[in-house]
Amino acid sequence: MNYHRPTSFEQASTIAGASDGTIRFLAGGTDVLVQLRADILTPDDLIDIKHIPGVKDISRTDDGGWRLGVAVSGAEMTEHAELSAEWPGLVEGMDLIGSTQVQGRATLAGNLCNGSPAADSVPGMIAAGCTATVTGPNGSREVPVEEIPTGPGKTVLAKGELISAITIPARGANGGDAYLRFIPRTEMDIAVVGCAVNLRLDGDTIAQARVALGAVAPTARLVAECADAIIGTTLDDATLDGLAHAASAACSPIDDKRGTIEFRTHVAGVLAKRAAKIAYDRAKGASA
């Protein structure tokens, strides 16, 4: 295994493009190293991207959003008071992943590229409207986060391409987000169902919304029907039932030891209701 330490994304892309074996990019390593240890995958070329300038930065974009470097760890996000206050749902989703030790290394971009349908940080990013900057041999482009995963363990990234930053849009006024997941224990487990809701109010009425579901389909999903169910409402009981119905209807989960199809489909609706209420309260000014 060759270990590379590029100092620019262009260089990282060139190394990856030139390799004729398996390659992996190394940020936090919490998935890559487990695969290496378990002999599931030993890359021929391992490209450590932590020495590229800016990868540890959390900075404001010109329009009032955030740009997160690809090596920013979950712990660094949670410790960032302003980011956590603006995007509590997104930050909580990341914070739910693994132990304190894993939080010290794990990253948003890594969670996204690992391609697990149950990745806890991904629904929150999708609901927030985050984009990933994809850098490759032909330069860089912005890709909505929901378009990155294409199936379990698979992404749209072509040979020589990697994510070089994650951008969160401006929070703006009267907005709130929330992420909830179901696991059979209190900590340190993989989501059986996850749901993120992000919305903006005009007075008491929901003016804009994005709802994303995790672990109920081959990839985390943006569900337009859920957003449509709550836009223009004040989230009354009938609306919440409609939201739950739309969420359950969007599920095409697997049956496994952690949850049956029936259970996952039902719980998706329950979590969508609860997450929507939290996001709504936050948009009204409740602090996280």
Binding site: M1, G29, L33, R37, S99, T100, Q101, V102, R105, E187
Partner: protein, 159 residues
């Protein structure tokens, strides 16, 4: 690829070793640097026995490659006592009998010390969540949590 030459600071002392690119920091500390306080339980990031600080951050050394540690500052259980003088956490672990076989203890001490540096007055719940990635098959955790709370109280009084 040939072995890589790594220089790191471990508990304040400069340490050099040669490592294969596939070796973890855990393997490097134990096999090349003689730091035997880091323990291997699972080797896949689940048990916390291999906990160290890497540039001040608590991590599992089994999920870090040795080559990544070049130029880094690493803290292990060996750096917790001052010479013969035990750290309050170490004393309280003995007083509360917060260990039996002891394999989890170095990792838990490193993790608990890292918590108290960030939060000198944690609640019981905060301690339990912080240490959720440190598994112990012997004690049932209560004694560990009480030892950490007691050490924290003593350290607050002393400061």
């Amino acid at each position: 690829m040939s072995k890589q030459h790594i220089t790191a600071t471990v508990n304040g002392d400069e340490v050099e070793f040669l490592c294969d690119t596939r070796e973890t920091l855990l393997d490097c500390l134990r096999d090349h640097a003689g730091i035997m306080g880091v323990k291997e339980g699972c080797g896949t990031g689940d048990c916390g026995a291999c906990s160290v600080t890497l540039d001040g951050r608590l991590v599992c050394s089994c999920l870090v490659l040795g080559v990544e540690a070049d130029g880094a500052e690493i803290g292990t259980v060996e750096g917790i006592a001052e010479g013969e003088k035990l750290h309050p956490l170490q004393r309280k672990f003995i007083e509360h009998a917060a260990l039996q076989c002891g394999i989890c203890t170095p990792g838990i001490l490193v993790a608990a010390k890292n918590l108290l540096e960030k939060n000198p007055d944690p609640t019981e719940t905060e301690i339990r969540y912080w240490l959720a990635g440190n598994l112990c098959r012997c004690t049932g955790y209560d004694k560990i949590v009480r030892a950490v709370m007691d050490a924290a109280a003593e350290m607050r009084e002393a400061s």
